[in-house]
Point group: C2
Chain length 281, copies 2
């Protein structure tokens, strides 16, 4: 049995000369054992020219955070059940990637087919696509079934939460696919309450001074007069080479074309593009 193997953390090498040590499953250990194992691990990584070292510590191992920091690690990011610390052990400038910086908000307003505004609402979502998040939340809150129409605008704001974090707020139009509101009293009451709250909100003198709110409202008005008055971005489902799906949001006319004939009209594009690229000499 090779005792030495037990003294070194087994790390997974990443594509950037880094080593990721995942200790989510590790049994609690003493600070002393952890520190000596870390020291023994760091030495060969340095010799091998490794650069960024990542340690992921489960909540159960919180007593070891202090040890990692004493060994030159700094916090990188944290989620409920773990904290990730990093150390850049190379002489070259650090290229440790940034933490998540933004939160996504969605403002949805719901029109029916006669272009009446049924409901403006504000949604916060994580991990869901913008368009599915909007549709899902509106149904959950109001029982109105909708389909996503377009992202009409978005707004980026900095230092908007947790001191240094930013947000992007996507302002979407949804269309009520049927105009029936289920007759459960509580749900109708909720929908009406939302409208009242919003009405009171925008009517406050304080909010009347907010340009952004006026601009959004102005776009909303334009759309209520017909889609042809204002062009937003619509979704195109795409897949990468590993068949993982994601959505492109692009000009609505173009989205219609792409959705209609995904694999045409792109052929021999690159030849043209890169001919143009090299025209600047």
């Amino acid at each position: 049995m090779d005792c030495r193997a037990h003294q070194i953390f087994s790390g997974k090498e990443d594509n950037y000369g880094g080593v990721v040590v995942n200790l989510m499953e590790m049994e609690p250990t003493t600070a002393q054992d952890f520190e000596s194992k870390l020291d023994v691990s760091l030495a060969p990584w340095k010799v091998q020219g490794k650069r960024g070292i990542w340690i992921k510590l489960s909540s159960q191992l919180s007593s070891l955070v202090d040890s990692a920091i004493k060994r030159g690690f700094t916090y990188h990011h944290a989620e409920n059940e773990y904290v990730v610390l990093t150390s850049w052990i190379s002489e070259s400038p650090s290229t440790i990637p940034a933490n998540a910086s933004h939160r996504i908000g969605i403002g949805a307003f719901v029109l029916n087919k006669s272009r009446d505004v049924l409901l403006p609402t504000v949604i916060s979502t994580t991990g869901e696509d913008i368009w599915t998040g909007a549709v899902g939340e509106v149904e959950e809150e109001t029982c109105i079934k909708t389909k996503f129409v377009e992202v009409l605008a978005f707004r980026e704001r900095h230092q908007s939460f947790f001191e240094r974090k930013s947000s992007v707020f996507f302002f979407c139009e949804l269309e009520a696919s049927n105009f029936e509101i289920k007759k459960q009293d509580s749900e109708i009451l909720d929908a009406i309450r939302l409208l009242k709250v919003f009405k009171e909100y925008v009517n406050q003198p304080f909010n009347q001074k907010k340009e952004m709110l006026r601009f959004m409202a102005n776009i909303c008005l334009k759309r209520s007069h017909g889609k042809e008055n204002y062009a937003g971005f619509s979704t195109v489902l795409t897949k990468n080479s590993a068949a993982k799906e994601s959505y492109l949001y692009c000009s609505v006319d173009h989205a219609d074309i792409l959705n209609g004939k995904c694999d045409q009209a792109c052929t021999s594009f690159f030849t043209t593009l890169f001919h143009k690229c090299f025209c600047f000499t």
Copy 2:
């Protein structure tokens, strides 16, 4: 002197029934002292009906992380120099807000006034506006001065980094305000290298299979044939009531109107909107 005052953490109340305990400036203390002070603090907060308790611990206080977790706190988020832990001490369901979930990427392609594609490039930015980030990075990397034209499309992707984080990639057009590239050899070489790398990249059979890349390239081609062929989103500078600036990105025609006459065309909007809102009864 009131000894008891020294045994309770002074927290700042937030607007959601929470208490934020900022320990960035606290001198290192023993785990025992920290734990007893935390226990003494938590008791009255519970009695007062406080709900979310936030503790921000500097890196210097990493030895106390374990104590907070033992007292029922969980990690919330972390930045290089601190970690933030939270505990929901109310019986009501937790409304602790989510951590930042997204990172913003920018793809910029630069056209000159004759609509030749000079340069496609990919930029990562934090804390800067999308449009200034694009312009600044292109100048830094290539010495080409540009002005921001439009966001042409964006793509949202989930589980794109750190396992559970998402990204939004904004695809922008920039216009070279002059067509001179400074004559420092290294910078020209860099610009050419970027083009070559990109050309090689998209020509790989692997990448030819990526729909997204083809879609983006297709939009790029349309734009190179004239702005009128594809409509993106342009910027409108807005201020909130505290005069804090942020950018709205909206349909380019509408942005021109809003930029031209910010305070007109919005008046009496809300009357109309909320008349329409209540038409669904």
